[in-house]
């Protein structure tokens, strides 16, 4: 039974991740309060392409620093983590929810907590997921991001009442770019596995935890 392991902050890598998680979280949360709040209130780019990714990143690094190294029992093949990350990010892509985070402090707090959780879950998910499971979720999540960005950039309908059409257009192209960068990062993360056919990455290994 995997319980929460003691923080592996003793290792230098763990300490760097902990520091990165803390700094990222600090910047991301600072964007929600004065004097930086006007940035995310007036620009969809700051909201969707700076603050939201920083929150996910903070959770990601927190998982790197503090999550147990061994696989979690109820996260076989990383499925639970990937599913949780997918649900949370999908929720915050709904234009009405983006508006709500701008005008309702409680929604904004929920956004901060849940997106950080999504980053944490994503890290644990990807770490335990075989290639097939990664392919399924990446193949679903990135096209979703690209579709939304493309739609935001190409429609002349304002999707968020809180942002101008111009802001939406720039954020739309930004989302397409973000999806591209994430896809590239994912492929790069697989390079060792793909270079070695014997690594077993192409098989679903039931022994793997």
């Amino acid at each position: 039974m995997a319980t929460l392991a003691p923080p592996n902050t003793a290792e230098p890598a763990g300490r760097v991740s902990a520091l990165a998680a803390g700094l990222t979280a600090l910047v991301a949360v600072a964007l929600s309060v004065p004097p930086l709040r006007p940035l995310i209130e007036q620009s969809m780019v700051w909201h969707m392409l700076v603050q939201m990714p920083l929150l996910v990143l903070a959770g990601w690094w927190a998982a790197t620093a503090w999550a147990p190294q061994e696989g979690l029992r109820w996260n076989r093949f990383g499925l639970t983590g990937l599913m949780l990350a997918q649900c949370i990010t999908a929720y915050w892509m709904i234009p009405a929810m983006i508006d709500r985070a701008v005008v309702m402090p409680s929604a904004d707090a929920a956004k901060i907590a849940s997106l950080a959780l999504a980053g944490f879950a994503l890290r644990l998910g990807l770490r335990q997921a075989p290639l097939a499971a990664q392919l399924f979720f990446v193949g679903y999540g990135l096209p979703m991001l690209i579709w939304l960005g493309w739609y935001m950039a190409s429609t002349d309908l304002r999707l968020c009442n809180a942002y101008s059409l111009e802001s939406q257009l720039r954020a739309g192209w930004g989302l397409v770019g973000l999806a591209g960068a994430l896809g590239l990062g994912w492929v790069v993360s697989l390079r060792h596995l793909l270079a070695d056919p014997g690594s077993g990455v192409f098989e679903i290994d039931l022994q793997r935890r």
């Binding site: 499925l79 649900c87 009405a96 009442n161």
Partner: protein, 224 residues
């Protein structure tokens, strides 16, 4: 631990699947709940759905017209039994409000052509009381060729009421380049008893007029 996993490779799988399903169900439920059952993904459609399901009394603020006359908004929309088509503007606007102005000009022409002056009125409310004092209103009314018996233009009497007015109607005003504002523009149908009953898009002028006429025909006859 490792030995247990080796002994039973399925260990944890049923729990994982159950947890995944629970996560997915919670996520879908949250999205379903937040989008009016998957029908409205923008604040604007949510606002229109909510009003269509539950009409709302218009807020009661003092408004001022181009002649400097002050009255309560509720009194203005409730006084003569007309159904009002309401929009929100600011008179310095050179972008979206011009489109709104064009829609309202067409509606005004139709109301006059069909002799509906007793049944349907048009009301533009400025959300910029600092700039839109009576002289600015008069200038805008002349520019738009408003006919006083069909199309009324008012501004808020007090800047303090601005927030309340926009919040109650669900209008969000965001600053745009060149000192302009951008806001969700729509046609708001205010029926008898001063209740906001429906919100329609800018392209739905004909539907708005039809609905207003129907509501006006169904209203109780004014006391003699």
């Amino acid at each position: 631990m490792q030995t247990a996993a080796l002994a039973n490779p399925l260990r944890g799988l049923p729990g994982t699947f159950a947890l995944c399903l629970a996560v997915l169900a919670s996520g879908l439920a949250a999205i379903y709940q937040a989008t009016a059952g998957g029908t409205a993904f923008t604040t604007e459609t949510l606002r229109r759905t909510a009003i269509a399901q539950a009409p709302m009394a218009v807020p009661d603020f003092g408004v001022v017209d181009a002649h400097g006359r002050t009255q309560a908004l509720r009194q203005l929309v409730g006084q003569d039994g007309r159904v009002w088509i309401v929009d929100f503007v600011y008179t310095r606007c050179t972008t979206l409000c011009l489109a709104l102005g064009t829609v309202f000009q067409q509606l005004q022409a139709q109301i006059v052509a069909q002799g509906l002056q007793q049944q349907v009125g048009l009301l533009s409310i400025s959300f910029d009381p600092l700039q839109d004092q009576p002289p600015a209103l008069a200038e805008y009314a002349a520019r738009m060729r408003m006919q006083a018996d069909v199309w009324q233009l008012v501004s808020l009497r007090s800047e303090a009421d601005r927030r309340g007015l926009l919040d109650s109607f669900g209008i969000m005003v965001v600053p745009a380049p060149l000192g302009e504002f951008e806001h969700n523009a729509a046609l708001h149908i205010v029926g008898p008893q001063g209740r906001l009953v429906r919100i329609l898009g800018l392209g739905e002028g004909a539907e708005a007029l039809d609905l207003a006429r129907t509501l006006a025909a169904a209203r109780p006859l004014p006391a003699p």
